[in-house]
């Protein structure tokens, strides 16, 4: 086990000598590393940091210069806090739903042969090569009054039901589009688990439930937390699906930001809303880092 653990350092091995001689000299090496980072940092600076800073600036910008009125307004009217709560409610539900669906799926993917896993994985991923808009419209067709569901219901002699433009349809649409993120995160963690641990647990008398609770669950926890965080953060900023599939009450933060930008042209307030959303996301990350440590999010453990 210890031998296997040392076997793979992957690219991290590059960080320690032996390196080509000219790279080993300290100054040159730092320089090389910096050069390697330039494209990424440059891209982030132009397309992330700058707009982000702009949004922050804008959210404090009023007629008389610096102001907190946009933030004040957020808390003045219950509607925005309510939208925030709805956003959490929807994102939380979607996170739980994706977890419930993705966990057994990822488990199957991790236990079948690599060949079968590749085929199953392709089935999970291929729909995601098409645009989210197309996929959302596909759901609208399926759930529509003359869609698949209602045809089946009709065939069984039931009256058609309204499946669109309500909370369940938002959850269906979002769960569907966010599922692969959860599956992939869980899968990579599960692949890393030593199958012998499961066998060992059985040999020691553990029931299926105890194998799950005492072995699988703790070992997949980084994947559960990482996948949930990822899905939650993505869900919090979701726009297209709630807009197209949601009802009048399924307003999320992104929807009302768009409303402020497009209809009310109140970009400063929209910026404040975006900043609040960003802060919540960062707090989420912070919480995760504090609870689990960010490293587990990016490393799969064996």
């Amino acid at each position: 086990m210890s031998i296997q653990r040392q076997a793979h350092d992957g690219l991290a091995e590059l960080a320690v000598p032996p390196l080509p001689r000219h790279l080993v000299r300290q100054g040159r090496r730092d320089w090389t590393l910096i050069m390697l980072l330039v494209p990424a940092l440059g891209f982030l600076a132009v397309f992330f940091a700058y707009p982000m800073a702009d949004i922050l600036m804008r959210s404090f910008d009023g007629d008389q210069g610096f102001t907190l009125e946009h933030y004040g307004r957020f808390f003045e009217r219950t509607i925005y806090v309510r939208v925030l709560l709805i956003t959490f409610e929807i994102s939380g539900s979607v996170t739980v739903l994706t977890l419930i669906i993705a966990y057994p799926l990822a488990f199957v993917l991790a236990t079948v042969s690599r060949r079968t896993a590749a085929i199953l994985m392709a089935m999970v991923l291929i729909p995601f090569f098409t645009s989210i808009l197309v996929r959302t419209y596909a759901w609208i067709v399926i759930l529509g009054p003359e869609g698949l569901f209602n045809q089946v219901l009709g065939g069984l002699g039931f009256d058609p039901v309204q499946l669109l433009y309500n909370r369940p349809s938002v959850l269906i649409g979002m769960t569907y589009t966010l599922l692969p993120y959860m599956v992939l995160t869980l899968y990579s963690v599960m692949r890393g688990i030593d199958a012998q641990l499961v066998r060992a647990a059985y040999s020691l008398g553990a029931s299926d439930w105890n194998v799950f609770r005492r072995i699988l669950l703790p070992h997949t926890m980084p994947g559960i937390i990482g996948g949930s965080l990822l899905v939650f953060i993505l869900a919090v900023g979701y726009y297209i699906t709630p807009r197209l599939m949601g009802g009048d009450r399924d307003q999320m933060m992104a929807t009302i930001i768009e409303y402020q930008v497009d209809l009310l042209l109140n970009w400063n307030f929209a910026s404040a809303l975006a900043a609040i959303l960003l802060t919540i996301t960062l707090v989420g990350f912070g919480l995760y880092a504090w609870l689990v440590g960010l490293r587990t999010l990016f490393e799969s453990r064996t």
């Binding site: 600036m57 804008r58 910008d61 610096f66 009802g247 009048d248 009450r249 497009d262 042209l265």
Partner: protein, 369 residues
């Protein structure tokens, strides 16, 4: 980044927020990105002989009608290429504030146009530049925009659900006992909420709609809300919900409904208490092809192009001379036909410009209730 803005130098802000930050620069950047995206567009071929003009479009059958009835003739006549561009109000405003251009001539509903005017985004029109069009024939003509067409928002219902008696007024639309079934009405994102229809349903007469009693209108909307599947936030959604029988009745733009009917949807249009709305033409301040924009606007407003274009999509020309070129039986079906005039009413763009923001704020809360 070293420029110091004179406007914002309050003490507690200092250089931190005043100096380094310029809204204009940012928008400039955004629009530059939009421009760069447009360059890749295959039908934009620069260095045409007569130049080009960028026109806002809402796409669909309306754009087809424009291409066929107006733009082709214009291109043949002037050699100026017409390039349609999709944009919403926020994007247009960003274009103007950044000064990057990308759009010259725009047409849009009156409240949106007035909003742009109030933001200082529109060119003050030089009336002397109009050659093909006698502006006296156009209603309305203002400093910054002119009427281009008139469209109507009407009650649309499913004929299969209501084969004998259908809701014939907004009061009946609200009467879910007599006319049961799910409904839709317009969301704020698609022009504006149907406050006028709510007041009519509540017994206000057409003459007394404006100024709108906003509270009363919202109260009446609350009544119908449990029966609303979803307020349609785009014309496309409104059309698909009524076409697919998700709802049995809705407010909708007559031209949209007509497209569905022409395709065979079993829909009926009730013109009674229909609301006529103005589509206005204007030129953006950031226009890079100002002359071409004037020429196209001039041409678009002239009687024959109006007559060749607008009735096809059930719109009324704003140029009264255009009716000389329209078959009277066709004219009778348009929003401004004498009969429809009699039973409908005019939307007040002026009221909406004054009150739109307040209504929009209330609307969001109303949706969540």
């Amino acid at each position: 980044m070293t420029k110091v803005s004179k406007r914002r130098t309050s003490a507690h802000v200092g250089g931190k927020f005043g100096g380094n930050y310029s809204r204009r620069r940012v928008i400039k950047g955004l629009a530059a990105g939009a421009g760069a995206a447009a360059i890749g567009f295959p039908n934009i071929v620069r260095a045409q002989k007569g130049g080009e003009v960028f026109v806002r479009t809402s796409g669909g059958s309306y754009q087809d009608a424009l291409q066929e009835g107006t733009w082709s003739a214009f291109e043949a006549k002037t050699g100026i290429r017409v390039v349609p561009v999709a944009a919403n109000t926020a994007k247009m405003l960003a274009m103007v504030q950044s000064g990057e251009g990308g759009l010259d001539l725009i047409a849009g509903n009156e409240p949106a146009t007035i909003t742009l005017r109030n933001e200082g985004a529109l060119v003050e029109l030089d009336k002397s530049r109009f050659e093909y069009t006698d502006l006296d024939d156009i209603a309305p003509v203002t400093d910054h925009y002119v009427g281009y067409s008139v469209f109507a928002e009407v009650l649309v219902y499913n004929k299969e659900v209501f084969p004998d008696r259908h809701p014939g007024s907004w009061q009946e639309f609200w009467d879910v006992g007599t006319f049961p079934g799910p409904r839709s009405l317009q969301d704020a994102k698609a022009i504006a909420p149907n406050l006028e229809f709510a007041l009519l349903a509540d017994g206000v007469s057409r003459a007394d709609l404006y100024p709108i009693d906003v509270d009363r209108a919202f109260n009446k909307l609350s009544e119908i809300k449990p029966h609303i599947v979803k307020f349609f936030d785009t014309g496309a959604l409104g059309a698909s919900m009524i076409a697919e029988k998700t709802v049995v009745a809705t407010s909708l733009w007559a031209n949209r409904a007509q497209v569905l009917i022409d395709k065979g949807a079993p829909l009926g249009i009730e013109w009674n208490e229909g609301m006529r709305m103005l589509e206005a033409g204007a030129i953006l301040k950031s226009a890079k092809n100002l002359d071409n924009a004037y020429r196209l606007l001039d041409f678009e407003l002239s009687p024959e192009p109006q007559a060749n274009t607008l009735p096809k999509v059930l719109l009324s020309p704003a140029n009264k001379k255009a009716f000389d070129f329209i078959d009277p039986t066709l004219a009778a079906t348009l929003p401004t036909s004498p009969q429809n005039r009699e039973i409908g009413f005019d939307n007040s763009g002026a009221w909406w410009v004054e009150n739109r923001d307040e209504v929009l704020e209330l609307w969001q809360e109303f949706l969540l209730q």
